[in-house]
Subunit: 113 residues, 2 copies
DNA sequence: GAGTATACCTCCAAATCTTAGGTATAGTTT
DNA sequence: AAACTATACCTAAGATTTGGAGGTATACTC
């Protein structure tokens, strides 16, 4: 994926966060950036300038709660889904999935359709 | 797809335009809105407030050329790909396709990955 | 005459992202 | 010891994109 492809992330970052947290008890910010990089073989990079504001917004919306721990001398802020967060996660993930399917329909279009 | 799903379009609108025009000689704005609605069974709606600025930007970038016709008393502004537009279309479509595949990898994730 | 479909357009506000910067600890390399 | 890399948090400024609302106009149907 080329460098400016990260701009195509728009709108999907918060759903990616919710999905990752749905599959795990809790994660911290830096861990999320590394996990996305790992799962996409380095293709997608979550910039911190996008991630932290997104996490704070989800927390402000009541979908995430935080818990701070000190591990090996460094502070970690763990995020996990609230009850409402779980509901919203399911809903937003299925919306994005449906959107992605529509997008693929459009992109796989053969001529004269 | 729910109503606010149209907000997930971000970043992909211009690629959708390029893809539609790659498969057809030329299209006009209103036709694009209808075609997208048709191809996605009404799930996706391209708003005019997003479409026309996007078309004008692609034209300003030299990827599209225009040709105005009067059909049944109404003005139609047809857009078609320039030579450079064809090149860019291929490139941007494959980028978005790769992005969508990564997104699906993330969304289809099973627990404890 | 009113409403609907077709067909173009712009402006403002909201949301999201990128870039660039800042702080700090721990370990490794020179 | 200094420099670099990895870990780990954060913010601010600016650009881009989008949605919503509005505007104009023609043709057809009720």
């Amino acid at each position: 994926m080329s460098t400016n492809n990260q701009q195509l992330l728009k709108g999907s970052l918060s759903v990616i966060i919710l999905k990752l947290l749905e599959d795990r008890e809790k994660m911290y910010g830096y861990e999320i950036t590394q996990k996305v990089k790992e799962l996409t073989a380095g293709d997608m990079t979550i910039t911190e300038g996008a991630l932290y504001p997104a996490l704070h917004k989800l927390e402000a919306e009541g979908l995430l709660t935080t818990e701070t721990q000190v591990v090996e001398g460094r502070v970690r802020k763990y995020y996990s889904l609230t009850k409402d967060g779980h509901k919203q996660a399911a809903s937003r993930i299925s919306e994005l999935t449906a959107f992605v399917e529509n997008l693929q329909t459009l992109l796989n279009l053969k001529p004269s359709f």
